[in-house]
């Protein structure tokens, strides 16, 4: 996918609202045709503002947006080859399912035969043929979301923008619709930009994840890259569970941390400020094993697939361990080791 020319380019995008709030700063992003890119970050980080700027609902204060080589920075939303799925679905409550889906093509004066064919195909793709004459308020949340998706796809846009489309669905339905969206995206091959604050959603659906904080991009990478090799303390902390420790450099590939001296395969870079390890990286071992860390168990929480243990080494901050079927040790102490290749160094401060 990276071999193809970028389909959508946002270059040096900045957005300052009328009240002086700086929502976006120096955003640079390019999305290849057919790519599924997710904007991930906490509430207020600017991901929806960026999506709405790409869609044309906000005019950027600085920067430039291009679609297939055309400058669309100031083009209104109705003139962009994009369609949006809104968080609240934004279906027209007075129109039936079929009329909602047909709204865009009718608006764009697509010939009647082509419109009807497109409508039938989409109704079948989203499995809503039996509900075509119903009003949106007669549908479940999942069905409404599928209508919103079909309505966006009816425009046959180059890019589909999703603004937290699953946030109003329950967990089971969210998983189902998530797979449906990804399946349709792969089948039809449209480019997708997807906003979410749900890291599981981002990791499971995306070709690439853009992690945002305070109106800036912290890291762009594949789901594996942002999870396994976070570049900043914020990314490490926001995506998945992480133990983040201050460290001091020692000789011979060692660093000193509040849980003891640790061996690392790669020495920390010049800007590194924290050492990070994931709770599932810990390997239980005997107390007298080489590099063993012995900690006091403070809390145990059964999570189904694994057990989360909260431990403390002397006066260190509490650390988390995810171990399969870990029982509560009789003496309240547990020993584990951290493989050197699983220890990473990150830059920046914690949020």
């Amino acid at each position: 996918m990276s071999d193809t020319a970028p389909d959508l380019v946002a270059a040096d995008i900045g957005k300052v609202f009328e009240d002086g709030f700086e929502a976006l700063t120096g955003i640079n992003l390019s999305v290849a045709p057919g790519e599924f890119v997710t904007l991930l970050g906490p509430s207020g980080c600017g991901k929806t503002t960026l999506l709405k700027t790409v869609a044309g609902f906000h005019l950027p204060t600085t920067g430039r947006i291009e679609l297939a080589g055309q400058d669309i920075t100031t083009a209104p939303p109705e003139r962009r080859d994009m369609a949006m799925c809104f968080q609240s679905y934004a279906l027209f409550p007075h129109l039936s399912v079929a009329d909602n889906i047909d709204f865009g093509p009718r608006q764009n004066r697509v010939p009647r035969d082509a419109r009807l064919k497109r409508l039938e195909r989409l109704l079948s793709q989203v499995d809503l043929g039996a509900h075509r004459e119903k009003l949106p308020n007669k549908l479940s949340g999942g069905q409404q979301q599928r209508v919103a998706l079909a309505r966006a796809l009816a425009m046959q846009p180059a890019v589909v923008l999703f603004d937290e489309p699953l946030s109003n669905l329950d967990a089971k339905l969210r998983d189902q619709v998530r797979r449906e969206i990804r399946g349709l995206q792969k089948d039809l091959g449209f480019t997708a930009i997807y906003v979410t604050h749900d890291q599981a959603e981002a990791l499971s659906m995306s070709d690439r994840v853009v992690v945002m904080r305070n109106g800036r991009i912290d890291q762009i990478g594949t789901p594996e890259e942002v999870y396994d090799r976070p570049e900043t303390a914020f990314v490490a902390d926001f995506i998945g569970a992480a133990n983040i420790l201050p460290f001091e450099r020692r000789a011979n590939g060692h660093v000193a941390t509040p849980i003891g001296d640790l061996t690392v395969t790669e020495p920390p870079g010049p800007g590194a400020s924290y050492l990070v390890w994931r709770p599932e990286d810990a390997e239980p071992c005997a107390a007298d094993a080489p590099d063993a860390i012995t900690a006091e168990l403070t809390e145990r929480a059964y999570q189904g697939a694994y057990t989360e243990l909260h431990v403390r080494v002397d006066a260190s901050p509490e650390q988390r361990l995810h171990l399969p079927h870990a029982a509560m040790p009789a003496d309240g102490r547990i020993s584990f080791r951290l493989p050197p290749d699983r220890l990473r160094f990150v830059t920046g401060a914690l949020a």
Binding site: A55, F57, P76, P77, E78, M82, A83, M84, F86, Q87, S88, A90, L91, F92, P93, H94, F103, G104, Q107, N108, R151, M155
Partner: protein
């Protein structure tokens, strides 16, 4: 639901609903009965269709009916047409929007007769407008605008007085439409006019109907604006009704006009309501 519970509900509703039914019902009953020769203030009570025949045969009545229907229709539609863009403009608060909204609603607090007299001061032969236009050199001598034959003055007053009411009803309905729904329409290619025609108007049709009905009924029964600023060659239904009662003491014929006025108010407002819903929602209720 047992009879005790039903009885309790009826008793609880009696003070409000009962009063309304008695007040409205009695007025309507007396008017209808009087039009057929009963409740005579002078002479014997006697059933008669003569009053209906006399009134319906009268050219003055048919002109008054058409005139009132015209004033009511144009005023209702005009008020709503003017109120919509303002309601959309004020949909999202901005600096000064509260003041603008308050000023626009000020006519609601001015009695109709006072407004009509103020209007006369402006459009009179030696009124403010003529004086201003002469001072500016736009005209050489005053124009006669008062009591114009097309009733533009009455329509202006009706819209001036009723537009704030339409605005009040439409503002709430327009504000209830979410930004995302309007953004979605825009995203799907709808420009400003199509967003109004295909989304805003159908979603606010109930408020629009309420505004049309209430303004139509009020304007159809107008007396104050008509006698002050209306044309002198035609009477409104209310004016004609008073004319019959005052000039000849023909209470029964006045009652016929009154019943016809109620019929016009009911029929006309229903017609407007049905037409607006049919036009905007394609008959979908």
């Amino acid at each position: 639901m047992n009879w005790q519970r039903s009885g309790t509900i009826v008793l609880l509703l009696m003070p409000g609903l009962g009063l309304i039914l008695v007040m409205i019902g009695s007025v309507f009953y007396v008017a209808v009965m009087q039009s057929f020769g009963f409740f005579n203030l002078v002479g014997e009570d006697q059933f008669s269709l003569e009053h209906w025949r006399d009134v319906l045969d009268s050219r003055a009545f048919s002109r008054a009916f058409q005139y009132s229907a015209y004033i009511a229709t144009v005023s209702a539609i005009g008020s709503v047409i003017l109120a919509y863009p303002i309601a959309i403009w004020l949909r999202r608060p901005f600096r000064g929007s509260l003041t603008v909204s308050a000023v626009l609603k000020a006519p609601l607090f001015v009695p109709g007769l006072v407004a009509a007299f103020l209007f006369l001061n402006i459009v009179a032969y030696h009124g403010v407008l003529n004086q201003l236009m002469m001072w500016l050199g736009v005209i050489d001598e005053p124009i006669r605008m008062q009591n114009d034959r097309n009733a533009y003055g009455v329509i202006f007053l009706q819209i001036w007085k009723n537009m704030p009411f339409a605005l009040l009803l439409l503002s709430g309905a327009v504000q209830a439409i979410s930004d995302e729904v309007l953004d979605a329409a825009r995203d799907l290619g709808a420009g400003p006019f199509d967003r109004f025609r295909k989304v805003i108007a159908p979603l606010t049709v109930s408020a629009m109907q309420a505004a049309l009905i209430i303004i139509f009924i009020g304007a159809a029964g107008d007396f104050a604006f008509q006698v002050t600023a209306g044309p002198t060659n035609v009477q409104s239904m209310a004016q004609f009704m008073v004319f019959l009662k005052d000039s000849f003491g023909r209470w029964n014929q006045a009652a016929v006009v009154g019943v016809c006025l109620m019929g016009l108010a009911l029929g006309g407002s229903l017609l407007l309501a049905i037409a607006s819903r049919f036009l905007l929602r394609g008959g979908r209720w």
